[in-house]
């Protein structure tokens, strides 16, 4: 009896053991990190939601070429831009089919009405769908689309003209973002007529490569390949998101063959993954930057010499080694090196405490001063351990006489207080949305962003003029030039200590072919196949 009792769990376990890698070759399992907030990408901010909605289900007028930040036409075949940069005319692709769902069967192909509906829902209070699902279109508003777009005109069934209030070069890149996904107006009309408009956000159909067939919150999402997809059916037949929040468990599942692709591995597991013969560890520099912003409105950070001194006083390589455990690279500019217009000729401030002391003395702080470093309470790709980063900086600065106290708050509170200008210096960062330098420089360092995400509250006229000029022209050579000049001013004025650009790792099973890491952080499975 005693023996029987002890052996019971193991006996049941062995009896019920099943082959864990039994899934068919045409099913790809992606162990995602969490549940999506919903399936309408225009209502939300998180990458988890975009991976589950806009990437598999929808298309946009323009899209990012897979594995790059280059924008290419998608549902639009081509685009004409007027000389004054105020009119964008999109020529739409013909013969593009919408998916179907349990209660909706499309009767027509994609056309201009779908484009106009998808944007007007976010733009116009008068649109019957505007208030549905909370009525908050954060990304659309944050990218300035609500004030930028003056009108959207249907020229004919396959031609749509966007009229802008002012020229805005990043507009095209914005249209490739997730919030600009194209919905079916026919489906929206059907639900509105039935009095159930909220269903559009729960079971939307798109023109994308996969259609959603089942969602179980916190468990899984199932998709099947859309056989009428306009680029041709995906190579895999079924796509499953197996929702697995813990990174160690995702790795265990990958090893056991229960998933094929996993995002966000633990930095500590990277070495073991590299050595695993069944795993192909892919990596790419992330489109992000982690930095420390000096609040220039607070003493003594209004003095450029103090800011430069602390740049010299910080041993960034030590931070990369300790905080990123190799999964990061030292940053010197406010934009990451993979982005166009990155100024390679800028020479970073080397670690030089003696030089730092000299500069502090020149600024009148020979005996140093006391300040605070704000450390984020959350993990981010651009800063996996802000507390540790702050501690290293604290030690480095102490060597030049600057006594820094570390401060932290709950995340929402942290952001709120930071925007109110409370910190002396703050650790924060940014991950790019659309591959345009404007999305880093204007958002984080322009005069317009003071009181928003310009945490250093630094506003430099010459620098800002360059950013505005680059925004207003579509000439790529000129834009490139403006941004490079801006980075020189930024380096000299040193409103930040740019600390790191992280390296993104994605382990996949060896059987998975054709997978590419998206520099913008998304996960795409259209071109992926699985070998038996």
């Amino acid at each position: 009896m005693k023996k029987g009792l002890a052996a019971l769990p193991f006996a049941v376990m062995a009896a019920a053991a099943i082959s864990t890698s039994a899934h068919a070759a045409s099913t790809l399992v992606y162990c995602s990190e969490g549940s999506p907030e919903g399936f309408n990408p225009s209502l939300y901010y998180s990458g988890t939601t975009f991976d589950a909605s806009s990437k598999p289900i929808f298309n946009r007028l323009m899209e990012f070429k897979l594995g790059t930040t280059q924008v290419e036409p998608s549902l639009a075949k081509s685009v004409d831009v007027s000389d004054d940069g105020l009119e964008y005319t999109f020529h739409l692709r013909k013969g593009v089919k919408f998916q179907s769902s349990k209660d909706f069967k499309p009767t027509r192909d994609f056309d201009a009405d779908d484009v106009i509906f998808s944007f007007n829902r976010q733009r116009l209070d008068s649109n019957p769908y505007h208030k549905v699902g909370g009525g908050s279109y954060g990304y659309f508003d944050d990218m300035g689309m609500n004030t930028l777009i003056k009108d959207i005109v249907k020229v004919d069934d396959y031609t749509v003209k966007f009229v802008l209030n002012h020229p805005e070069a990043p507009f095209i890149a914005n249209l490739a973002m997730d919030f600009a996904s194209i919905f079916s107006k026919e489906q929206a009309d059907q639900y509105l007529k039935a009095g159930t408009p909220e269903k559009l956000d729960q079971t939307p159909v798109g023109t994308g490569p996969f259609q959603k067939v089942q969602y179980q919150k916190d468990s899984l999402i199932r998709y099947v390949a859309f056989k009428d997809y306009w680029k041709g059916k995906a190579k895999i037949d079924r796509l499953v998101f197996s929702i697995t929040p813990d990174a160690s468990v995702r790795y265990a599942k990958l090893k056991a063959g229960e998933c094929d692709v996993m995002p966000y591995p633990n930095p500590a597991d990277i070495k073991q993954m590299e050595a695993d013969p069944n795993i192909n560890l892919m990596s790419q520099e992330g489109l992000n930057v982690g930095y420390l912003a000096f609040n220039v409105t607070k003493k003594p950070f209004g003095d450029v010499k103090v800011r430069q001194a602390l740049n010299y006083a910080t041993d960034k390589q030590a931070i990369i080694d300790s905080v990123f455990q190799g999964a990061g690279k030292v940053a010197k500019n406010p934009i990451p090196p993979t982005m166009w217009s990155y100024n390679t000729s800028i020479k970073d401030y080397p670690y030089d405490p003696a030089k730092a002391k000299k500069l502090l003395a020149e600024a009148g702080y020979a005996d140093g001063f006391e300040t605070t470093i704000w450390a984020m309470p959350v993990q981010r790709p651009y800063n996996p351990n802000a507390r540790r980063m702050a501690e290293i900086m604290q030690e480095d600065w102490a060597k030049v006489g600057v006594k820094a106290n570390i401060v932290t708050y709950e995340w929402g509170e942290y952001l709120k207080r930071a925007k109110a200008g409370e910190p002396d210096t703050i650790l924060i960062g940014w991950t790019g949305d659309n591959g345009d330098p404007d999305n880093f420089l204007y958002v984080l360092t322009s005069c317009d962003s003071v009181g928003g995400s310009n945490y250093s509250e630094w506003c430099n006229k010459a620098y800002d003029d360059l950013l505005v000029k680059a925004k207003r022209t579509s000439d790529m050579d000129k834009r490139n030039d403006y941004y490079k000049q801006a980075q020189v001013i930024f380096h000299d004025q040193a409103p930040w200590i740019p600390v790191a650009n992280s390296v993104v790792y994605e382990p996949i099973r060896k059987e998975v072919k054709g997978y590419k890491i998206d520099p913008l952080g998304g996960h795409y499975f259209y071109s992926v196949s699985k070998e038996k």
């Binding site: 053991a17 956000d201 919150k217 916190d218 468990v249 056991a256 509170e413 995400s453």
Partner: protein
């Protein structure tokens, strides 16, 4: 008996009012702003913040928000999640069957192992078996769940390949969500191997979640049995020549069960309120993880509604335990 149940029920209303007040006050006392959390590094302008606050009803004074919340509860409406805009009740109902399924299996595991182990340890007091049971139960009780789960997973799932790593069923099975209970749904689906897969997915989480209750039950059963076994009537029964198993099961166990039922009741209540760590490690879609995430997102309606439902469950389970006492021991029923 009915009077006894009625007396118990009358205590429920003030308890509920207390719970609503407490959860509402606590969640609003923690610093943090759901709108800021949603926007992240990007941030929102003050105008937009005000607009969103108005939309979500967060701009109203706290007492007004509280009364709105209570008025909703009275009408059976727990509100909508600030994040997903789904009714709280819908989200709860989607996740609760998974929690119940796991809790029941963990409880079965804990009782099946814990109860006999406790009885035998008491009967064989002072032997190696007794000491081993006590050592194992103390270890089980003090085991860090997260570590225990990962250890079992590495041994049985990754190294031996006996059980799946996590989830509720293998992804090859496309099971319709009929009842929400995967064991039942997979059985109903008729797909070959689906039920077996669902069972195999339950084994490790049930063992992990059932370990602490098992240890508690084993220890409680042992000490309670020891007390009863030293009673005079047991000696009398033995002296009368009644079969030893009969003395233990019929005479001793029934009397020793009262404190054990209390413990089982409390444990089941805890199991049903969701097991955050076990759910996180095994990617089990239950309510524990849902509540924790909603706290970090400051999703007020979910925290308030979710905790209220969980509290209701615990109250109901405790009530059932009280009634079970009465059934096992008529003296309790009459004395009250």
């Amino acid at each position: 008996m009915f009077q006894f149940i009625f007396r118990r029920l009358s205590l429920v209303i003030p308890t509920f009012i207390g719970i609503t007040l407490l959860t509402f006050t606590l969640i609003h006392m923690i610093p943090g702003d759901p709108i800021e959390v949603m926007a992240g590094e990007r941030g929102v302008s003050p105008e937009r913040h005000a607009e969103l606050s108005a939309q979500l009803g967060l701009d109203k004074p706290l007492y007004e928000q509280y009364f709105h919340y209570v008025a909703g509860i009275v009408q059976g409406d727990l509100g909508e999640s600030l994040v997903t805009h789904e009714p709280v009740m819908n989200e709860f109902m989607t996740l609760f069957p998974a929690t119940v399924e796991l809790a029941v299996c963990a409880a079965i595991f804990a009782i099946l192992i814990g109860l006999p182990a406790g009885i035998f340890a008491a009967v064989k007091r002072g032997t190696i078996f007794d000491h081993s049971v006590m050592t194992f139960s103390l270890t089980g009780y003090s085991m860090p769940i997260f570590w225990w789960a990962l250890l079992l997973m590495l041994v049985f799932s990754v190294t031996l390949g006996w059980t799946p790593v996590s989830g509720r069923i293998d992804v090859v099975y496309w099971i319709d969500n009929t009842t929400g209970f995967m064991l039942i749904d997979s059985w109903l689906s008729g797909e070959e191997g689906a039920f077996k897969s669902a069972v195999s997915h339950l084994i490790l989480p049930s063992i992990v979640l059932g370990t602490i209750p098992m240890a508690v039950i084993a220890r409680m059963t042992r000490s309670s049995m020891l007390e009863v076994l030293s009673e005079d009537y047991i000696r009398t029964a033995r002296a009368k020549g009644i079969a030893p198993w009969r003395v233990i099961v019929i005479h001793a166990l029934r009397n020793a069960l009262i404190p054990v039922i209390t413990v089982i009741g409390l444990q089941v209540g805890t199991l049903l309120s969701g097991a955050i760590l076990t759910e996180t490690v095994f990617a089990w879609p239950g309510i524990g993880k849902w509540l924790i995430e909603s706290i970090s997102r400051r999703d007020y309606p979910v925290v308030q509604g979710g905790i209220l439902i969980v509290a209701t469950i615990i109250i109901v389970v405790n009530l059932l335990v009280d009634i079970a006492y009465g059934v096992v021991n008529p003296r309790i029923r009459h004395n009250r």
